[in-house]
Amino acid sequence: MPELREVVIVSAVRTPMISASMMSQRDFAASRGSVSIVFSLAGFLYFGLGIVSGPLADRWGSRSLALIGMILTGLGLALAFRAHGMALAAALALTAGLLHVFNHSIFKSLLFFGAGAVLASTGERDMERLGGLIHRMPQTAFVFLVGCAAISALPPLNGFVSEWLTFQAILLSPQIPSWGLKLLVPAVGALLALSAALAAACFVKAFGVTFLGRARTPAAEHAGETDRFSLAAMFFLAALCLVAGILPGFFIDALAPVVQSLVGARMPVQSGVDWLSIVPIAESRSSYNGLLVFLFMLLSGALAAWAIHRLASDKVRRAPPWDCGYPDASPATQYTASSFAQPIRRVFGTVVFRAREQVDMPPPGALQPARLTVEMRDLVWDALYAPIAGGVGFAADRLNHLQFLTIRQFLSLVFAALVLLLLVLAIWP
C-alpha cells in the first residue's frame, strides 16, 4: 500500500498547521463550543486514520497517526474546557497534548534512528525480509525495544505519562455543559484506548518481525552492529524516554509557562509533590509515580532472579526449539508481518479498510502453488486525498499545452492577464 506513506506525509504537514491555527486563535470566547467540537472531531478523525494504518501498514514510516490523534485530542479538549471557563482542566488537557508532542519527538526520533541503522546495516527496507537482528545488532535492538515500549504507552516509560494525563483530562469532561461534547468525549476516550492497544500490537509486530526470530534473508544474517556515534545518539534518546517517564513532574513544570500563556492557567507545580509523584488535580486524589513503579519493578525482578538462581537452579542447556515436536528448519515457516497482522486485519480491516482475503487452493494432486491474496482499500485516501490529487493532475494535464505556445501567443496571454488584473483592481470596491 504505497499510498499510506503519502497519507503520513500529508497528515504530518497538516497537523502542525491545524495546531498553529488553533493556537493563533486569540479570541477563544468567540469560538465557544462548536469550534472545539470540530477540533475534537479532527482528533477523532486522526484516530480513525491511526487505527487504520497502525497495525496494517507494513512500512517503517506510517505509524505517527494514532499519536497525532492523541495530541489533537489533548488540544481539542483544552479548547473545549477553555470555552466553558474551566481553566484548570484546560491547562491539564493542553499539558497532556504538549507533553505528548515532546515525548513523541523523543521516541519517534529514536525509532527512525533505529530504522535507519537497520537499513544501513542490511540494505533492507522491508521487514518481511529481515529477522533475528537481535543477535547481530544487540545494542540497536535494545534501544529500539525501549522506543517500541515507550510509543506503545507502557509504564514506566514516557509515552504512558502523556496518555495517563489525557485520560485524567477526559475524566473531567462530564462537567462540560455542551451535550454534543458529552456524547463525543467518551467515544474519543474509547478510541484513544483502542489506538494505544493497536499501537502496542503494531510495535510487537515491528520489533518481533525485524529483530526476533530467525533471519529470513542472507542480508539479515550478515548484518553488523551500527557505528558508535549512532548508538550514542540512540542511547541518549532511550535514556531520555526513561527519565521523562519516571520524573514527569519536571517536564510538566517546564511546559507550564507555555500553557499559562495559551489558556491563562497552569497545572499545579509538580516538582514539589512528595516522592516526585504527579498529581494533576488535587480534588480527585489521582496520582502516578513512575519512579516508584520503576524501582518496585526493578527490585522485584532482581529479587526473583537472585532468589531463583541462588536457591533453585541456574543451569541452562541449549537444544533445538520444541515447537510441539515439529520444528521446521526453514525460516519461511515463521510468522511474518502480514501473518501477524491477519487476526487484527480480520477484526478491524474488513470494515475500515474493506480488506478482502482470497484463498486460491489448488485441488489435491495439482502442481501449482496455493495462493492467498489480500486486497485492501484505504477509504480515507479514496474519499479525501484521491479527489484532490486527481483534480491537481487533471488541471496540470489541461494546462500542459500552455508550455508549447508561440512567442506571440505568450505575449497576448501576458497582456490578457494584465488587463484582467487591472480590471479586477478597478472593479474591486
Partner: protein, 318 residues
C-alpha cells in the same frame, strides 16, 4: 510506629498475593474436576509444580536471545507490582498512591507486550500464532478495560483504587445501572485476559486454537515457573479487582486496628474462594468458542463499558 505498621501491611499484601496465587489456581482446577466428577489434583499441586520447575534446568532453544531469558523476570515483576497495588484486605496501603487503576492495567499491558515478544523470539510458528492472537484479543480487551475504569472513576470521582473502594463501600452509592454494566464488562474482560474458557483453554497444550499456551510453548524450567506464577497472580489480581470494586465489604480502612486486619484477610480469602468457585462453575458449563468469535465477545464488553460511561456522562446519578 504507624509508618512501620503501614510498611508491614504493604509487605504482607505483597507476600499474600504471591502466596495465594497458586492456591487460587489449584482451587479452580479442583472445583472444575469435582464438577466433572473427577478426583482432581490436590489443592497444593500448583506449588509442587512450581517447586519442581524451579529446580529443573532450563532447556533453551538454540537461537533464543537475551530478551527470551529476561522476559519471564520482567513479566513476573510487572504482574507482582500490579497485584500488590490492588487493595485486597485493606485500603490505603502505604504505596497505593504511586499507581492508580489505569497504571495497574498498563502494567499488565507491559507484561503482555513482553510475553508476546518472547513468543516471537525463537521463530517457531506456534509462538507466532500465540502472539498474534494475544495482541488481537488485547486490542479489544484494553479499551474495554479503560471504559470500565472510566465508569468506576466517574462514580467515585478518582482513578485511585483505594479511594474507589472506600467510596463504593459507603452508603451513598446505591444501585446504579452503570456499575451493573461495568461489572458485566469487567467479568468478560477478566475471562479473556486470563485465557479462560470460552476465550482460551488453560488446560490445553497442543491445540490449534491455543493462545496463551502457544506463546509460552518454548519456555521450560524456572522461566516457565515464573510465567505460570505470573499467570496465577494475574487471575488473583482480576478476582481481587472485582472483589474490591463490586464486593468491597470487609475491606479494612487505613486507620483499622490490627485485629480488624485479620477479619479483612479472612473476608478476602472468602471472596477469592467464591470468585474461584464461580469461575470454575462458569467454565464447566460453557464450551470454548472459535477464535474469531472472541472479538464479538470482547466487542460486547467494550460496548457495555462505553454505554456505562455514556450514561454517566449524561447523568451522574445513573
Amino acid at each position: 510506629m504507624a509508618v512501620i505498621l503501614d510498611l508491614v501491611v504493604q509487605g504482607l499484601q505483597m507476600l499474600l498475593v504471591l502466596a495465594l496465587a497458586p492456591l487460587l489456581t489449584g482451587f479452580v482446577r479442583k472445583v472444575k474436576a469435582r464438577l466433572l466428577l473427577r478426583q482432581g489434583p490436590p489443592l497444593i499441586q500448583p506449588y509442587r509444580d512450581l517447586a519442581r520447575l524451579m529446580r529443573k534446568e532450563v532447556v533453551l532453544a538454540e537461537n533464543a536471545s537475551w530478551l527470551f531469558r529476561v522476559s519471564p523476570y520482567f513479566i513476573f515483576a510487572a504482574t507482582w507490582v500490579a497485584a500488590s497495588l490492588v487493595p485486597t484486605f485493606r485500603t490505603g496501603l502505604l504505596f497505593s498512591w504511586s499507581a492508580d487503576f489505569i497504571v495497574i492495567i498498563a502494567l499488565l499491558g507491559s507484561a503482555r507486550f513482553f510475553l508476546a515478544l518472547a513468543g516471537l523470539d525463537v521463530g517457531t510458528s506456534f509462538g507466532g500464532i500465540g502472539s498474534s492472537r494475544e495482541m488481537m484479543i488485547a486490542s479489544l480487551a484494553e479499551p474495554a478495560m479503560i471504559m470500565i475504569v472510566f465508569t468506576v472513576a466517574l462514580v467515585a470521582g478518582s482513578t485511585q483504587l483505594s479511594t474507589m473502594a472506600t467510596f463504593l463501600v459507603s452508603s451513598e452509592v446505591g444501585l446504579r445501572v452503570s456499575l451493573g454494566l461495568a461489572l458485566f464488562a469487567l467479568i468478560m474482560v477478566a475471562i479473556a485476559e486470563n485465557a479462560r474458557i470460552p476465550v482460551d483453554n488453560p488446560a490445553t497444550h497442543l491445540e490449534l486454537t491455543m493462545v496463551h499456551e502457544a506463546m509460552v510453548l518454548e519456555y521450560s524450567g524456572r522461566h516457565l515457573a515464573l510465567i505460570e506464577l505470573s499467570a496465577s497472580m494475574k487471575l488473583l489480581l482480576y478476582v481481587s479487582l472485582i472483589a474490591c470494586l463490586f464486593v468491597p465489604w470487609g475491606l479494612v480502612s487505613s486507620g483499622g486496628a490490627v485485629a480488624l486486619l485479620a477479619i479483612g484477610v479472612v473476608a478476602y480469602i472468602a471472596k477469592l474462594a467464591a470468585g474461584g468457585f464461580l469461575l470454575a462453575l462458569f467454565e464447566t458449563s460453557i464450551a470454548k468458542m472459535r477464535v474469531f468469535r472472541v472479538p464479538e465477545f470482547l466487542g460486547a464488553a467494550l460496548m457495555l463499558g462505553l454505554l456505562a460511561t455514556l450514561l454517566l456522562f449524561v447523568s451522574r446519578s445513573l
